[in-house]
């Protein structure tokens, strides 16, 4: 039986190539992401251990405010000069170098714009000489207060040269420096990875980056000869107590690299999620291929049953086939994954200028490749195998063995599973906690399976309606009839396409709804004529000099300018955003805030107002007190003086300007501008822009421009998701090709007959193309319907977060339908050529 199976497998190898390809692509994606993140992870290890090579013990201040990466940047903590002296006095310490290093030093390039970072920090640090692998490439280190050195990465990006006068933005407004040196790192590197670095003299670094003279962020300790780093670490720890993190250099390197790796593993999980979608779609394809093959082999299977094969042997023969395909696809997919992973790692390393560690094949990649590749194939083949085993021996003698089975059972189970899925989604959106994600995931999965099971029932009416569009020609009519003749096959092929389209539509619907909701609220709520705000920039809250405020108010045509300062704070031990405003009544007016309780007058010292949602959550009311800890400064008690109604675009704690000195960036990051009656808006704006010349990150925008820019990020996210889901779509299109190719094969005689009675080659191709287009458009329609449903569910679930409008992105959906039709045409090319090439004679020849 095994030999017969393998022989028949080889005989049909072409038919199986496409379904194998689907598994291969999925496996490639899975193992590729493991290889990529493994190589990058080890590269980070190498980079940080070389940076820490000369540090025996590292003493680091605990972050002042520690938040997860998703919530923003942690605020660095500080060590005092006294701590350095204490450490230096510990026996066995040869030297303790104080290090000042904080994100947020932005150099203004020769083009007058801030040198942008795509994500890595822009460190401002003190010059500690050529230590830690640092090597001067040009000039010297800074010795005077107005001198800086930058790393090669930054020098190249900013096109600055030694001797240039350079503007640098820090936690303070722009200051001018002379560039006196350019440095790199051991091994000819331009920097430590893609990091930008500005080195000041120590007092300047302390003043500009930390706002605290004499403070450090860490101490790099060199042990005296013969002192064990671990012993020294313990000695320092006992001396300093629990206030600081004390690690050996190696531990510190591992810890820093660990932070990057946790980001990488998040990235890896995202990639694996998309791979999962692709494999889920691949399952449909394999299921369909095996179903068709089993149907075509009915007589052969019946014959083997008549000759004495047991049901188990028949199942076995199909499963062995699946196993062989799965194994082959896994091996090839793993190989392709290593290649793709290596290529992406190379690109990523070049892009971020880190030294790429050797490419390895982690065990996880190998295990997941085989588990996923073989698992998916075998599971998908199980159903067709069982069906094959049910072929009665008498079928060998019958002319047409497979009558159309009724769809009742399928429809009922589809409705039940779909309803369960929808229920799980509804329940998941309504509940909270760890289970939510799994509920939603399971719900979406069940919905997909349910709709897939329902799709054969939907196929007949939908396909017949769709087909009318093409029925003006005979080939079109024949194509439509063909696509309607095996509803299961059409449906499952379309369902594979549905998955990707549904996810894209769902995400798009959610983003559009969020966009529309926010825009709708903001359009009515925003009463400011102009908004001054900074372009989002990683690790930095762009600000402008508060000394400009009076000059802004003096610009002709300007009515009021209300500034807002922002920073993170710990409020009752919870990380939270704190805002400080110069004039709360003006903000209330400009943002149409509504009072709930207390007073919305400008908060005095020790007073704070809060929105009703935060108040409810934290159990606060007017008169209750909260403990507020800002990045700089000690915990202080504030009293709630007022509560306002949370606006969809505005909420949180609002202080008076007494908190500003405690903020890391003690400058305004927003300003709401009202024009005077009858003012020349354009002139007023130009006036403001002229004042902001030293703050190139700040933009003066009207409401529309501001919203467009802020909401533009949703469009980028959508684009990314669409690209990543593209793989699932590609696999679904492979499925369409496969189904058509198998159908063409199955209908060889019919096609021969049509050719014999006068159907031209072109018309034959048209017929196949219509069949393909009907399938893909049906799939897109299903996907759009499910996607809108998913999007609506999410919008409903996030109603509390301000999503109050469901916006269906009709233009995008029109585009998806057009793209679906185009994919259908594309998918039809090969099968259509094959159909057109059918030799009439062999097609109609007797058996």
């Amino acid at each position: 039986m095994l030999r017969a199976t393998l022989k028949s497998l080889l005989a049909r190898k072409l038919r199986l190539v496409l379904s194998g390809l689907a598994v291969l692509l999925g496996v490639m994606f899975v193992s590729g992401s493991f290889v990529l993140t493994d190589a990058l992870g080890r590269s980070f290890d190498n980079m940080f251990s070389s940076a820490m090579a000369e540090t025996d013990v590292l003493v680091t201040a605990r972050p002042a405010i520690d938040v997860s990466e998703l919530e923003g940047e942690s605020v660095p903590g500080m060590l005092a000069a006294a701590d350095r002296d204490a450490v230096a006095a510990v026996p066995g310490v040869a030297e303790a170098v104080g290090v000042v290093q904080a994100d947020g030093a932005r150099v203004i390039g020769t083009d007058g714009k801030v040198v942008a970072s795509f994500g890595p920090p822009r460190f401002g640090a003190n010059w500690t000489g050529e230590t830690g692998g640092l090597e001067l490439r040009e000039g010297r280190g800074p010795t005077a207060a107005d001198e800086i050195a930058v790393n090669v990465t930054l020098a190249e990006l900013s096109k600055l040269k030694v001797g240039d006068r350079v503007g640098v933005l820090t936690t303070k407004p722009k200051q001018m420096f002379t560039l006196v040196g350019v440095f790199g790192y051991e091994g000819g590197l331009p920097g430590q990875g893609p990091v930008h670095e500005v080195r000041f003299t120590e007092p300047v670094a302390q003043e500009l980056m930390l706002g605290a003279p004499g403070a450090y962020t860490s101490l790099s300790v060199t042990a005296a000869p013969g002192t064990d780093p671990a012993a020294l670490r313990d000695a320092i720890k006992s001396r300093l107590g629990d206030k600081y993190v004390v690690q050996t250099g190696q531990e510190a390197a591992a810890a820093i690299a660990g932070g990057f790796k946790s980001f990488l593993s998040l990235f890896n999980n995202i990639l694996l999620g998309f791979a999962g979608v692709a494999l889920f779609v691949g399952t449909f394809l394999i299921l369909n291929t095996f179903s068709i093959i089993v149907a075509q082999r009915t007589r052969e299977l019946a014959l083997s049953r008549a000759l004495g094969a047991s049901r188990r042997q028949v199942i076995g023969s199909v499963m062995v086939e699946a196993l062989a395909i799965g194994l082959l696809a896994s091996v090839l997919g793993l190989a392709a994954g290593v290649g793709v992973g290596a290529l992406l790692a190379k690109l990523a390393a070049d892009f971020t200028s880190i030294v790429l560690a050797s490419i390895g094949v982690p065990l996880a990649a190998v295990i997941s490749a085989f588990a996923v590749g073989i698992g998916v194939t075998v599971i998908a083949a199980l159903l067709p195998a069982v069906r094959a085993s049910r072929v009665p021996p008498v079928a060998a003698l019958q002319e047409v063995a497979t009558p159309d089975r009724p769809l009742t059972r399928l429809t009922i189970s589809g409705a039940v599973i779909g309803a369960l899925g929808a229920g799980a989604i509804a329940f998941g959106l309504a509940s909270s906690g760890d289970a939510v994600m799994w509920l939603l995931l399971g719900g979406v999965l069940a919905t997909f399976i349910g709709v897939s099971l329902l799709s054969p029932v939907l196929a007949r009416p939908v396909v017949s309606v769709l087909g009318r569009l093409f029925s003006w020609s005979v080939p079109g009519r024949l194509g439509r009839l063909n696509s309607g003749r095996n509803p299961r096959r059409t449906a499952i092929t379309a369902a594979a396409l549905m998955v990707g389209v549904a996810l894209i539509t769902g995400v798009n619907t959610t983003i559009s709804s969020a966009d529309k909701s926010l825009r709708g609220d903001a359009e009515t709520g925003f009463q400011a004529d102009l908004i001054i705000s900074g372009q989002e920039s990683p690790g930095v809250l762009p600000t402008f000099d508060e000394a400009l405020l009076p000059r802004m108010r003096a610009v002709p045509g300007i009515g009021t300018v209300t500034a807002e300062y922002n920073d993170q704070a710990l409020i009752n031990e919870e990380p939270s955003w704190a805002a400080a405003v110069t004039d709360l009544p003006a903000v209330v007016r400009d943002l149409s805030l509504v009072k709930v309780a207390g007073s919305l007058a400008q908060p005095g010292p020790g007073e704070v107002v809060v929105d009703n949602e935060n108040a409810t959550e934290a159990g606060l009311a007017v008169g209750s007190t909260v403990t507020v800890k800002l990045p700089k400064g000690e915990p202080t008690t504030y009293r709630i003086s007022g509560v306002y109604e949370r606006a969809p675009f505005y909420g949180g704690f609002i202080f008076g300007t007494d908190v500003v000195p405690g903020m890391r960036f003690p400058q305004p990051s927003f300003a709401y501008v009202r024009l005077a009656d009858g003012a020349d808006a354009a002139a007023a704006r130009t006036g403001l822009e002229a004042l902001l010349v030293d703050s190139p990150e700040m933009l003066v925008e009207d409401k529309q421009q501001y919203l467009d820019r802020e909401l533009g990020e949703g469009a980028q996210l959508l684009l990314m998701i669409q690209i990543l889901l593209g793989l699932a779509i590609v696999i679904a299109v492979l499925g369409v090709i496969n189904t058509l190719a198998l159908s063409v094969l199955e209908r060889t005689r019919e096609l021969g007959l049509l050719r014999a009675i006068g159907l031209s080659r072109a018309a034959t191709m048209r017929m196949i193309t219509v069949e393909a287009v009907v399938i893909t458009v049906f799939g897109v329609l299903l996907g759009v319907a499910v996607g809108i449903g998913l999007g609506a569910a999410v919008v409903q679930g996030l109603a509390d977060e301000g999503l109050n409008t469901l916006a269906v992105p009709w233009p995008a959906i029109g585009l998806y339908l057009a793209a679906g039709a185009a994919l259908g045409v594309l998918a039809a090319v090969l099968p259509a050529i094959r159909a057109a090439r059918i030799n009439v004679l062999t097609a109609i020849a007797h058996e």
């Binding site: 047409v400 019919e750 007959l753 009675i757 080659r761 007797h846």
Partner: protein, 262 residues
């Protein structure tokens, strides 16, 4: 090999519905070479019912396929009406099939997705032509399918399916209908119905029919029977009866020198 002179072609075209001139068909090359037709000359008269017979491997099906333009010839010429089939492009062959040829195959004659009526009208629909309602009615009445037109092939018996196929071949009034063992899969009663119908369409409506068969009874419905053996025409009968056909077939089984005068 001789090339037919143009005037001769014209003259013959007026009387013949299809014609083969010195047709050779060779499959494969070298050692594996098989000669299926060895210089066959045959003329099929208009308005007549011709049967082609011969033992398996005699080349009878090949001859019909070549005459119908389904298969290419290695040498020689084939005409349907006044159109030379040999050398036509795929598009030309498609047009030929639409305009001049009707087919009836042994099986797989009908599209399962279409009703009987749609199947009958399919060649016309493909060619973008309308059926002559009078003629359509006549054909339907002759084949006796009046009440079955809305049925799909799976709801029809084998004999009914073949009658639908006959109606389809005739409805466009082609120059010639090629029937390849049209009764091969039918019981004798259904077969007789189909053959009777083909006979009538020749007698009453002047249709030209060429039929390949190995059944002497089926061949006896024809006006003329051509016998093939080893790729050559070896005998011919006019006004055949089953007995005479069988006798001729038996005589062919005797090892006779090939190419002798018949």
């Amino acid at each position: 090999m001789t090339t037919a002179a143009p005037p001769l072609t014209r003259q013959r075209a007026e009387t013949s519905a299809a014609r083969a001139s010195q047709v050779w068909k060779v499959y494969g090359t070298g050692e594996a070479q098989v000669v299926a037709l060895r210089g066959v000359d045959v003329e099929l008269e208009r308005g007549r019912f011709t049967a082609i017979m011969g033992p398996s491997g005699s080349g009878k099906s090949t001859l019909m396929h070549c005459l119908a333009g389904l298969d290419s010839v290695s040498r020689g010429q084939v005409f349907v009406g006044d159109t030379e089939v040999t050398g036509l492009s795929d598009a030309g062959l498609t047009r030929l099939r639409r305009e001049k040829i009707g087919f009836i195959f042994q099986q797989f004659n009908l599209l399962p997705t279409l009703t009987a009526e749609e199947n009958i009208l399919l060649p016309l629909a493909i060619a973008g032509r309308k059926a002559d309602p009078q003629w359509f009615k006549t054909v339907i009445e002759t084949v006796g399918l009046g009440d079955r037109l809305g049925h799909r092939p799976s709801q029809l018996s084998g004999g009914q399916q073949q009658r639908v196929a006959c109606a389809r071949a005739l409805v466009s009034r082609p120059e010639v209908v090629f029937a390849d063992e049209p009764t091969g899969n039918l019981d004798s009663r259904s077969g007789a119905e189909v053959l009777g119908f083909l006979r009538r369409s020749v007698t009453e409506y002047g249709q030209t029919i060429v039929m390949v068969t190995h059944d002497a009874v089926a061949a006896s419905y024809a006006d003329r029977v051509i016998f093939l053996a080893d790729g050559q025409i070896v005998a011919e009968l006019t006004a055949p009866t089953p007995e005479r056909v069988l006798d001729t077939l038996k005589s062919l089984d005797r090892p006779a020198p090939l190419g002798t005068d018949l």
